[in-house]
Symmetry: C2
Subunit: 335 residues, 2 copies
């Protein structure tokens, strides 16, 4: 198996992707392609041990920054690292790709270069959220706004297959994000989606509310990308505010610092729960090949987690299963 990594994307690039890629050749038995500026990658790579037979560099000398309009940049910069990585993936020169760079550019690469799966009208970004009952999948987390009912149904199907295959969750419970639990609650979109989800071949548990997100009451949360983005960023923002508060609790004076010694283990656990980096990257579901978006702030450890995830994504045939499920059911096909 060969995994293609955009070595130039992310806050800690190229260090984090290069270190993680080098480690993957030694520990995971996978081949790695690092895409980006050859001299920069080689200089970084010199710091780590890696399996020479399993690692290659493909040169790409452009980079798409956060200030560019993503779709336009992907079309214009044929030699941007993320675009080259996408092209290699499309041409079968690798089995999956991973980028920690600009989210919009990766989405555009997925849509314009890798291409949509047959029957999927809008691919979606799916993010794992750390909850009280383990990681849960929020889909769509921001790729699509102004969705239609069929989109939310397809998100539910794709998310269910991902959670079953990659996270080993049997019959993942699918919740439809709404503003009330009863069947009649919701806006026009969720009211139209509800009956379709009942016939979509997923384990639909009905409407869920914001409370259910962090309580982990659904394994897959399906929603419009506008709502998903708001949820994701609200949770991230609250997590960072509260982490600061809890830290502040202990730094107040000598006595509180002594107190922190007593609860050090628990604090570490708490910090781990609040740290999205433990949970790997966000798969882009609905495109023809496995594409994973790693968090922009990924360090080498987080990037390595994302590579493990990409490997399982490929091994468990997520995409073939998605295409099979969507192709077989009239109610959820859209083309």
């Amino acid at each position: 198996m060969k995994i293609i990594i955009d070595a130039m994307g992310g806050d800690h690039a190229p260090a984090a992707p290069v270190e993680a890629g080098a480690r993957a050749t030694r520990e995971l038995g996978v081949d790695i392609v690092l895409v980006g500026k050859r001299d920069v990658i080689e200089r970084e790579l010199a710091k780590y041990q890696f399996d020479k037979n399993r690692l290659e560099i493909v040169h790409a000398d452009e980079v798409i920054t956060n200030h560019e309009e993503p779709a336009k940049a992907v079309r214009a910069k044929k030699n941007a690292s993320v675009v080259v990585a996408g092209r290699l993936l499309k041409e079968g020169k690798g089995d999956a790709m991973l980028s920690m760079g600009n989210t919009g550019a990766l989405l555009a690469t997925g849509l314009l270069i890798v291409g949509r799966s047959k029957g999927v009208s809008r691919p979606a970004l799916a993010t794992l959220l750390p909850t009280d009952k383990g990681p849960k999948l929020l889909i769509d987390a921001g790729a699509n706004t102004n969705c239609k009912d069929i989109n939310l149904v397809q998100f539910a199907v794709m998310g269910s297959i991902y959670m079953k295959n990659v996270l080993d969750i049997d019959r993942p419970r699918v919740g439809l994000m709404s503003n009330g639990e009863e069947e009649g609650k919701g806006d026009a979109l969720t009211k139209e989606t509800y009956p379709l989800l009942q016939r979509a071949g997923v384990n639909f548990i009905g409407n869920i509310e914001g409370r259910d997100v962090m309580e982990g009451n659904a394994d897959v949360i399906t929603c419009d990308g506008f709502v998903g983005n708001v949820i994701l960023k609200t949770v991230e923002g609250m997590g960072s505010v509260i982490s600061k508060k809890v830290k502040g609790l202990f730094l107040k004076n000598m006595f509180t610092k002594i107190g922190s010694l007593f609860v050090a283990g628990g604090l570490k656990e708490f910090k781990k729960m609040m740290d999205y980096r433990e949970y790997g990257g966000a798969p882009l579901l609905g495109v023809k090949k496995p594409v994973i978006k790693g968090h922009g702030s990924s360090d080498a450890k987080a990037a390595f987690s994302a590579i493990i995830q990409a490997k399982k994504f490929v091994e468990t045939n997520v995409i073939q299963n998605i295409e099979g499920h969507i192709g077989s059911m009239e109610v959820i096909k859209d083309e």
Copy 2:
């Protein structure tokens, strides 16, 4: 000034509203009308000191429960406590009303009995969120789904006036909840709303993201009620999950229990920050008289805070200011 209280609404009714009402007659110099079952209220009232000249009971023998369809129940149960309270308010037999009961029933009472302000197309529920920079207003927090641009603009105007008058915030910063900060980001609704907000006579700071909610980067957050409800409940759910975690940190063993002694003061502060009850009730803005929804789980202290809030709501002429602002600007009028 006379404040009408639905004495039968909320998890701790009639105890909490009755105790808070009795206290208000002694400490706030306001008159109180308690609406509900007379014998039940009298029995509860016997436990507290109150100013007899300032307190009256109006009998209402029906109650609307959480299991009823709100608008239907408000129409059918002419003698429900919340409906009677609304009628007294409409007839000028009080200056403001407060209920801790069924949210839908209070909204329906506001719309059907108290009535919309001239020019306001959809009244909204506005909730104060505890953030890192003090309480901020989320509007609409759940009264309206499938909003139009004009609704979001009116929410921004009403929320700004409320924050200025009742929370003494000078030129409240208005943020438009979106999935990205740049002007071009958003869904169809927010893209249409953006230019209108620039001409609405409020201190519009542009799009904000979920991260900004708990960081407190806007004083007024305007959004569709579906999105507002999801934000509010996500924050509440995450707050309760994390409070449990932090508590669990300290209850693990003898050593961690000792640790908790060192940080007791800070922990109390943290708990206070996570406790929405400190922040009073949620005003229903856009109706002709002051209507406040207290949190269902309000104790007597929270109910008393809501009475203080109702008093300031009346004293600072929030409603006249809203009607004046909306009436004077063509861009935000809708009738």
